[in-house]
C-alpha cells in the first residue's frame, strides 16, 4: 500500500537547535525548516503541495519522564523535535507522508500513500476549486439554461466528495452552486444559501478540471428534470443591515477591574495556563485546533492530553449526489486552519486573552493564526448555597469558570468549541453548533421526510453531527481503569421488605471496545486509579464522565458512511494507548473507506484494565431543521462533563468554595 522513499540527505543547513518543550507546536522556523528538508529530498524544482506540516508528538514514553522531571525540577531529558508532513507532488495524486528530525535534518520516514488515501482540503485549493467550477465552459452552459436574471452572481461551495465506492478512487470535489440575491448582486455577504441552484460540477484534484456536471433532484423522488428557466425566490439575508434590529436591549457589561485571574506563560509556541489550582499546557495544530496537555489540579495529574478528535456530519438525503455528503470537519479540513480570528467579531465579554498560533501553508511557508484561541473567565451562576433555616444564615458562592474557546468556520457552518474549567475540579467540553444550514433546491409545494423547507425553494436536509472528544487520562499515573457504575433495584427480601432499596454496582471494562451509556440504569463511566485511594472513604480516586444522549449514526452498517465514521456508533470507545493514534475517524478521512480509526483499534481487543488507555467520548445532534434555524441558527449547545469522584477530600478543599 505504501512505498518507503526515505531520503538520507542531511539538509543540515536548514536545521537549528530548538530548545522547545516536547509538546510545543512547531515554530515558524521549525515549520519552514521541515518543509525545506522535504523539498531538499526531491529534485530541484519539484513543486510540492504541502497539506500539513505539524509537530510529530514524541512517544509518550519519552514525554512522561520529561514531564516528571519538569514538575520535580530535576534535569530535563532530551527529547527530539520532529515534524510530521503530508504533501503531494503538485497536480498529481502522489500523496506522501513524512517525518523529519529537526535537529539532524534527517528524513526519518517518507512514503507514498495510497491508493484510496487522500489529503484534506486546504484554503488555497478550495478557492481554486470554486473558480474552476464557475469558469468551466460546461458549467457556464448549464447555468445559462437557468435563464437567471441579468447580472446574477453565482457562488460555488466546494464539498469534500465523500465515499460510496462508485468511481471515487480519485480525490474529487463536488461543488454546490448558489446565487446571490439578484436584486443585490454586489453584496458579497449576501446569503447565497437562500438561493440554491440545481447544478453541481465535480472536479478532480489531479487535473483540477471539471469531470462531470450533476443535475440535482429537486422533487420528492430521484427524478432529474432537464435544466430550464429557474424560479427566483426572495432573498433571506443574515447581515445586520438587512434586519430590523432590536432596540430594547440595554447594555450588559462584564467588568474585571483588576483583570483576569489566570496567567499565561508563553514558552515559545507553547502556552502554560494557570488558574486557581489548574495548570496545563495549550497547543494548537492544523487538525485539532486547541490541544491541552498535562492537565493538573493542585499539581495532581488528571489528563495527558485532551482534544477534539474529529466530527462526522452525514446527511439524510439518499439521492445522488447528496448521499455522499458526510463531512469530517477535522480530518477533511482542520479545526485549526479553519479557526476564526476572534478579535474580528465581538465574541467574548470581560478580560480576554488571545493566543496566536502558526500553521503551515501549501507551499512550505507559514500561515499566522492570530487570536485563534481566546481565554476568559465567566460567571456561571450560583456554585453552591446553603441556608440554615434555624438561623437564617445563608452561605453562597458563585461559580467562576475558565473558558478556552476556538470558533471554526467550515464553509456554511460554525462550531464554537470550548474547554471549560471550574472551581469544583470539573472540566467541560462545550460545543455550540451555529452558522448556516447546508441547503439545496426543492420544487415549490414538495415535502420530503428527510428535510425541512426553511425558505421558499430551499430544502435543509436532516443531518447528524457526531463529535468525538479524545481524552487521554493520566489520573495520578499512567495506568488507569475505566469502570462504570449502574444502579439497580434490590429484590425484595428481609433486608428490603418494602421494595424501596437500590444499590450501585461497579463493573470494570477489561477490554478495548465501543461501550454505551445506559441512561435507564444510570450507567456512569468513570476513570479510576485503584492505586490511589481517597483518604476518607478508601475508594479509588476517579473522574466520572457525563455525556448527553445522542442518536447513533443512522447510515446502515454496510454503508461507507458507517465504515468511515468509526466513532459514530457508541457513546464511548476505549482503546489501549498507542503513539500516533489520535484521530477517531482515521488519519486520512477524505474519501476514506474505514478500517483505520478507533473502531479498528478497539477491535484489537487489548487489555485496558490498569493500563494506559485512551477514551473517545461522543456527543451529537440529529439536526432536524426548523424555520427558526435559517438563515443563521441559534446555537444548539452540547456539553460533556468530567467531574471528580472521591478524588478530593475536604482537607484539599476540592469543591472550590469561595463562600460569601
Amino acid at each position: 500500500m505504501s512505498t518507503e522513499v526515505v531520503s538520507d540527505t542531511p539538509a543540515s543547513r536548514l536545521t537549528k537547535a530548538v530548545p522547545a518543550h516536547p509538546l510545543a507546536p512547531l515554530s515558524e522556523t521549525e515549520l519552514t525548516s521541515a518543509a525545506a528538508i522535504i523539498k531538499a529530498s526531491w529534485p530541484a524544482h519539484t513543486d510540492l503541495h504541502f497539506k500539513v506540516v505539524t509537530l510529530q508528538e514524541p512517544p509518550k514514553a519519552e514525554v512522561v519522564p520529561y514531564l516528571e522531571a519538569e514538575h520535580n525540577g530535576t534535569q530535563l531529558p532530551s527529547v527530539s523535535r520532529r515534524a510530521f508532513i503530508n504533501y503531494y507532488i503538485r497536480n498529481t495524486n502522489k500523496f506522501h507522508e513524512a517525518i523529519v528530525d529537526l535537529q539532524s535534518g534527517r528524513v526519518l520516514h517518507n512514503v507514498l500513500l495510497g491508493p484510496f488515501v487522500h489529503a484534506n482540503g486546504d484554503g488555497e485549493e478550495i478557492v481554486r476549486i470554486e473558480k474552476i467550477a464557475l469558469e468551466d465552459a460546461g458549467v457556464k452552459d448549464a447555468i445559462a439554461k437557468l435563464e437567471l436574471p441579468e447580472g446574477t452572481v453565482v457562488i460555488s461551495d466546494p464539498w469534500i466528495y465523500g465515499s460510496d465506492g462508485v468511481n471515487d478512487e480519485d480525490r474529487l470535489y463536488q461543488c454546490f452552486l448558489y446565487m446571490r440575491d439578484p436584486l443585490n448582486s454586489s453584496e458579497a455577504d449576501s446569503n447565497h444559501y437562500a438561493l440554491p441552484l440545481p447544478i453541481s460540477p465535480v472536479i478532480t484534484t489531479e487535473t483540477m478540471k471539471v469531470i462531470r456536471i450533476d443535475t440535482l433532484p429537486t422533487g420528492p423522488d430521484n427524478t432529474i428534470k432537464p435544466l430550464g428557466k429557474w424560479p427566483i425566490f426572495p432573498a433571506n439575508e443574515y447581515i445586520p443591515e438587512h434586519q430590523t434590529l432590536r432596540t430594547d436591549l440595554k447594555p450588559l457589561n462584564v467588568v474585571q477591574p483588576e483583570g483576569a485571574s489566570f496567567s499565561v506563560s508563553q514558552e515559545g509556541t507553547s502556552n502554560v495556563l494557570q488558574w486557581q489550582k489548574w495548570k496545563f499546557r495549550v497547543g494548537f495544530n492544523q487538525r485539532e485546533g486547541m490541544v491541552l496537555y498535562d492537565v493538573r489540579y493542585d499539581n495532581r495529574s488528571l489528563f495527558y492530553r485532551l482534544s477534539l478528535s474529529d466530527m462526522n456530519i452525514p446527511y439524510a438525503d439518499p439521492r445522488h449526489p447528496f448521499h455522499k455528503k458526510s463531512a469530517f470537519d477535522l480530518g477533511d479540513a482542520g479545526a485549526g486552519i479553519m479557526a476564526n480570528n476572534l478579535k474580528l467579531g465581538c465574541d467574548c465579554l470581560g478580560s480576554i486573552y488571545y493566543l496566536d498560533a502558526v500553521l503551515s501553508d501549501d507551499k512550505g511557508g507559514v500561515v499566522p493564526m492570530e487570536n485563534c484561541v481566546c481565554i476568559h473567565e465567566q460567571d456561571a451562576g450560583i456554585g453552591w448555597k446553603h441556608t440554615n433555616y434555624r438561623t437564617g444564615r445563608a452561605a453562597v458562592a458563585r461559580s467562576r469558570e475558565l473558558v478556552l474557546q476556538s470558533i471554526i468556520t467550515v464553509s456554511n457552518y460554525e462550531y464554537i468549541l470550548a474547554f471549560i474549567f471550574n472551581q469544583a475540579g470539573e472540566v467541560d467540553y462545550e460545543i455550540r453548533a451555529t452558522g448556516i444550514l447546508s441547503t439545496q433546491p426543492i420544487d415549490e409545494g414538495v415535502e420530503v421526510p428527510f428535510g425541512t423547507v426553511v425558505h421558499p425553494g430551499v430544502l435543509a436536509v436532516h443531518h447528524q453531527h457526531i463529535f468525538s472528544l479524545r481524552v487521554d487520562p493520566f489520573l495520578e499515573g499512567q495506568n488507569n481503569r475505566l469502570v462504570y457504575d449502574e444502579a439497580f433495584a434490590m429484590p425484595r427480601s428481609d433486608f428490603n421488605p418494602h421494595g424501596t432499596g437500590y444499590y450501585v454496582k461497579e463493573t470494570v471494562v477489561e477490554q478495548s471496545g465501543g461501550y454505551d451509556i445506559d441512561y435507564d440504569n444510570n450507567r456512569t463511566f468513570k476513570i479510576q486509579n485503584v492505586n490511589k485511594r481517597n483518604p476518607v472513604n478508601g475508594k479509588p480516586v476517579a473522574y466520572k464522565i457525563q455525556a448527553p444522549p445522542f442518536q447513533k449514526i443512522l447510515s446502515d452498517k454496510d454503508s461507507f458512511n458507517y465504515k468511515r465514521a468509526e466513532f459514530s456508533d457508541h457513546n464511548i470507545y476505549v482503546v489501549k494507548y498507542r503513539d500516533d493514534e489520535l484521530y477517531a475517524g482515521g488519519k486520512y478521512t477524505n474519501q476514506s473507506r474505514g478500517g483505520t480509526g478507533v473502531r479498528a483499534w478497539a477491535d484489537r481487543k487489548e487489555n485496558v484494565k490498569d493500563d494506559d488507555f485512551v477514551l473517545y467520548i461522543q456527543a451529537g445532534i440529529n439536526h432536524v431543521p426548523r424555520i427558526e434555524d435559517f438563515p443563521v441558527m441559534p446555537c444548539e449547545i452540547l456539553k460533556i462533563h468530567m467531574k471528580p469522584v472521591n478524588f478530593f477530600d475536604k482537607a484539599k478543599s476540592g469543591t472550590g468554595r469561595t463562600t460569601e
Copy 2:
C-alpha cells in the same frame, strides 16, 4: 371518604370587593378574610390550624375569555375571587378542605378529609416538633447512653414520615438527630450533618408527643446495636470562617449602566413581566412557588400556565426507618413557603428586581415573603455566529437571557429553580441541586452499596431527585396536539442505494398516558397546533421539548414509593385538562398512598388530540454521593428546554438576532 360541612354563614363583614386579576395571588386582605370566613363557620374559640390559604384558581373556561378580553381591550368579564383552604382543628387529626367565595363571604365547600389524607408540614409545626423530640424524657435517656462530651448540642431534623402501610395512618414525623461540633457547641451554624447520631424519635401530630424512639442501623445490615458510648469524629464545616478561602480570584462584575431591559407592572399581588417580545404574568403560591400564566411571545400565546408541580426524593437504604425517606418537597412542604429571601445572600449579578409575595400562616394570618423571586438578565455566550470565509466578515450576536429565579431550602437541601427566556423564543426550566446531603451514621470501616461514606462516620445514602414540570400549553389556542418525531434509517432501495438515507416520522399521541423519550430514535415530543400553519412551509406551529435523560424510579411497582410518586416512571405524562388538577403526586402527598395524581388521571385514557391537555415533564438525578458533595455540594444542573419549531418565520424575526 369525606364529609361535606359547608357552612352558609355569609360572614360578609369580612368580605371586600377585590378588583384583582383572576390569576393574581390572594392579597393580605384576601388571605386573612378567607381564614376569618372559615373561623366564623366554626363555634367561637375553635382553634384552627391553617395549613394553606391560597388562590382557588377560577375555572379555565372563565379565565380564557377574560384573557381574550384583556388582550383585545374589550369589556372584562367578572370572575369570582375564591380562596382554597386546608386546616386542622388544632391538635386533632381532623383535616379539612374548604373553598370560600371572597366577594360573598360564602363557604362554598368545607369537608373533613380522610382517613389517610394528611396535610403538609409548616414552619411553626416543624420548629415545635424539633423541640418536642429533644425535650422528651425517653429521647434524653437515649442520648445519655451515647455519653456525648459535656455541653454537646443535639439537633433534631424532623422528616416527613413517608408511607409503608405499617402503622402510618396517623400523621407522624420521624426526627433524625445530629450534634454540633462538640469543640464549638455555641456555633449555631455548625454543620451538624457531619455528626449524625443513631437515635430517631417518632412524633404524632395529633398529640404532639413522642410515640416511639427508633435506633438506627449503623452497620452493613439491619442489625440494631444497643446504644452505647458514641465515637466522636472531626467536624466538617461549610461556613466561611472555617475555610481557607481562595485569594486568587479577581472580581468579575456585571454592570448594566442603563438598568435592566425588562419591565414589571405590579397589579396588586400580580406582576406582569415584559422583556423583548415576551410577556407573562407571575404568580406565587405556598406550594409551587413561582407560577407563570398566560405566557406570550409577540402577543402570540404559548402557555396558559407553567410551574413546578412536585418533586420526589426516594432514598436507597431499605432499612427501617430509612426506607420511608421519600420526600415530596412541594406537596409535603411547599416551594413557596420554603423560598429564600434572595437579598440575604448575594445570589445574583447585574440589575436585579425582586418580587415579594404574601402567604398564609398557621393561625389565619399572613407571612410576608420578601424577595422570594428575583428577576435579572444574563449573558449566555454567543447566540449565533457566521463568518463568510470569502470576505472574512463575521456576524455575531450574543445571547441575552431573562431569568426568574427562586431558591428553596428544604431542611438540609437547596434547589435553585429558574425559568429562563431567551431571544430565540426558547423557554428553559433550570434546576440546580445544591445544599447538604441528608446523612446518617455509619460504623467505621463499613461500606454499603446503597450509599457513600463522605466523612468519617457519615453515610450519604444514594437517592433520586425526580422533578415534574407542569406545562399547560396554549399554543395559539386552547386545543393543541402532542406529537413525537422519530428518525429512522431508510431501508435500502433504488431510492437509497448506499444505505445512507434516513427520515423523520411524526406520531400523534391520541390518548392520555405516560410516554417516554427514546433517545436512540431521537424521539422528540412537540406541542403542535394543526390549525395554525407556518406561512413558509405549511407545517403546524409547534414547540419541541428537550428533556435530559434520567433513571426512572427504582422502587418496585408494588412499593408505596412507586404508587405515591405518580410522575416518576415516565419522561412525559399527558392528561386531558381538568380544573383543579395541578399536582403530579396528588393534592395531599404527606403519607399518601397513591391513586390521586397524574398516573391516575392518565389512566382515564381520555382523548388528548386537538384538545386541551396538560403535560408533566420529568427530569431527575440519581444522586450517588461523592466526597466532593460534602459538606455542601456543588450545583448539579438540569435543564428542560422548550423551543419553537416552525412557529416563527423570518419576517417575524423570531430567532432574535441582535447582530454585531
